[in-house]
Amino acid sequence: MAYSFPEEVLEHVFSFLHSDRDRNAVSLVCKSWYEIDRWSRRRVFIGNCYAISPRAVIRRFPEVRSIKIKGKPHFADFNLVPDGWGGYVFPWITAMASSYPWLEEIHLKRMVVTNACLELIAKSFKNFRVLVLSTCEGFSTDGLASIAANCRNLRELDLRDSEVDDLSGHWLSHFPDSYTSLVSLNISCLGSEVSFSALERLVSRCPNLRSLSLNRAVPIDRIACLLRQAPQLVELGTGAYNAELRPDVFSSLSGAFSCLKELRSLSGFWDAVPAYIPAVYSVCSGITSLNLSYTTMQNPDLTKLVSQCPNLQQLWVLDYIEDCGLEAVAASCKDLRELRVFPSDPYEEDEFDIALTERGLVSVSEGCTNLQSVLYFCRQMSNAALISIAQNRPNLTRFRLCIIEPRSPDYLTLQPLDAGFGAIVEHCKGLRRLSLSGLLTDRVFEYIGTHAKKLEMLSVAFAGESDLGLHLVLSGCESLRKLEIRDCPFGDKALLANAEKLETMRSLWMSSCSVSFGACKLLCRRMPRLNVEVIDETSEVAESRPESFTVQKLYIYRSVAGPRLDMPDYVLSMGEESPDLIG
């Protein structure tokens, strides 16, 4: 073209595009746009650490400041992925250490992070600011000490749900006295006690501290003095919230909370003693996010607390809330957008405690018009309830229902729950995430394949009757990116018939299904850009397995990096070794 905007102008325009999809689209327009995007891309998201090599990312985007990488499959959260499977971040850190000296942010999810990684981070990136380790493992508090000691510009250290080898709380004292830039600290997953005086001094010298999530070891009578040092807090996770009721502790706590004018989010409350809960009442009117999923508090105190929060948008709670509590939520929390109800006793074998039933969810779906995201564990469900929910809330984007007993039918009619989930996908046209449970035939997959056009992630367990189910999903769900299946009678036919679909998705997990070894090999031969990994923990040698052998667990994902090289013994890659095509 004879005319064109100067590069700087284009770059400036591109800087207003925040979604990866938009930036990817821009990079396809022409070579010069590709180059401009390439040099100006600052954030990269790697949904599967094995889909591409670190080298390839660095080559394409040389000036990245923030990277987010995910490792293990989602079902690793539920112990379905054996130890040592993979997800090591070390190769990424080493590659970035030499190529991204100005890296500021690392976000990792379900990855193995060692102390060596943390030390390398600490000394390689001079302007390092944000470290978020979500559901990670492999490191100890010694690694944290390196981060604390060396990252002078650290803003965020968030260890949410990670498994940390907790040697001592001493690491916190490694933040030097000159360090004042902390904005967010989440140590809720740590077991041991951190030095309280170090914590207090840290809090008092960091004026920008917005988010503080303590661990259980911080006792309730110490919270007040911490809060007084940080009245600007926006998010607070308390430690243990129990003690003998003492009026002086109570009033001190109460007073401290009343100074938190900016507080929007509360969590923690381990072992909460109801008597101390009124200390937080003064902040309830401003609270938008409440995570009570670790507290054993019950009704009426639990409902009373939640009902005091009229601006609540996000509620995570145990089933102690009961139907009556959820009715109260539906009446008081009109802006609720996300509800998660977890089971207090998932392995309850006695008579059911059915004080939390489908009725609670129906009430919330009726009363909370902004409800978009649901995660609900319960013990009974009916098609009628699901249909109500679907009709009440067509704006749902995430719907995850776990009926605790596998294959539970509609408890009123004893029919499968196909119609109920069918209504969900039919009415909720923007549904992006769905988890199924209960008794389900192939029909529900027909509904999903027909209607769930925006569905990106589907989780299926103990459902379906034949390959037809899987086929309907793979052929019908256009937006599907992640599919995870366990204990379903899905096998070779559907997989092979939809082989090409798999390359349009990030990953497929199938465990305790009916896929044969032979089909895996065939799939791999047909689709060179898929990594087909069979996980088999029996002791047989791979070569001796017959073609008809049913694989235990199967993880298929698209990749331009070829089969990975760090597989443990029990993971077999179905493809021949192929070199990393990109180099």
């Binding site: 990866d20 999809r21 990817n24 990079s27 990269v44 998201f45 390839a56 990312v57 959260d77 539920f78 112990n79 379905l80 498994e163 129990n242 003998e244 003693v273 670790y294 054993t296 019950q298 145990l318 009556c324 089971p343 998932p346 392995y347 006695d350 008579e351 405690d353 004080a355 009725r359 098609n383 009628a384 776990c402 007993e405 596998p406 539970s408 039918p409 009619t413 004893l414 119609a419 209504a423 039919e426 192939d442 029909r443 394949g449 027909t450 009757e465 034949s466 037809l468 086929h471 052929s475 019908g476 937006s479 009678p489 096998g491 036919k493 092979l496 090409e500 679909k501 390359e503 998705m505």
Partner: protein
Amino acid sequence: MSPPLLGVECGTRDVAKVTGSSSLKESPDGLSLGLKERNYLGLSDCSTVDSSMVSGQSDPEAQVNKLNTKATELRLGLPGSQSPERGLDEKLLFPLLPSKDGIKSVVSGNKRGFSDAIDNFSDEKWMFHRPDEGKQSLGQGKFPTSAVINVMIASRPSGPQQPVKEVPPKPLLERSNGINLSGGENNAPAAKAQVIGWPPVRSFRKNTLAAASKDNDEVDGKPGPGPLFVKVSMDGAPYLRKVDLRNYCKYYELSVALEKMFSGFTLGQYGANGTGGREMMSESKVKDALRGSDYVLTYEDKDGDWMLVGDVPWEMFIDTCKKLKIMKSSDAIGLAPRAMEKSKARN
């Protein structure tokens, strides 16, 4: 009345999507039914979607358009295998083994037979009956007698083909109703093996709850104020509750609390509309029932014995109580003497 069904638009697009699942033609040669391999898009080769490593999927519009025009027949077989051409009527799904069982209506009596279903199937149509909007029924839950749905269900394989049997012997629940649609009759296996990874609760959460709900008498070496939850069940009530014994200092308080908690239950009967007993019977009526001759409060101690509540000092009681049960007096007759003997033995 059947629950609302999903209407499916009959555009070719949707037909193409669900193509092949609509009918099942019996074939004599089972699996090797002359399936020609085609790829998902109906193209000869699915070239790389995009050179961008981190981009999302390819343009969905293009895919949809392709599907409109190509038959997305399902084929099976190694590359290069020849097979007789099937008609483009897109009705074949999987050439599952024909079986008599597949023809029978297995679900419930209102399903039509297989041959009926085929006769009713019409070209290029994939109709669900759309009942009147807004009508719902709580109780019926019968499935529609749509031919198409029948066909799908009827195509379920059986016999040695049944996939469930191939599932490796992981610690699954011993259930037989995975494939059977006949409802809840087979819902209660005797032994419940715990299934790995089910329900899907993260370990972090499970561990936290497990630690919290134990009898945690010790906190930092001192008797702590942690909660002491025990389950309370009542004969004839459909659900049990939990109480924190630390909330009470004497039997009377516990008794009052339990009366309140269980006062929603008529004696031995569940509330007819199933609201969990939130309508209250008058408290005094229940008190009479509980305190009178009809019910007694019992507990299971650490040794697994059931004892009458009230025989031992409160402190000792909360130390040994594992579970509470509100029993009919007639069931509790044998308890008192044992309780006395036990406490004598302890003292």
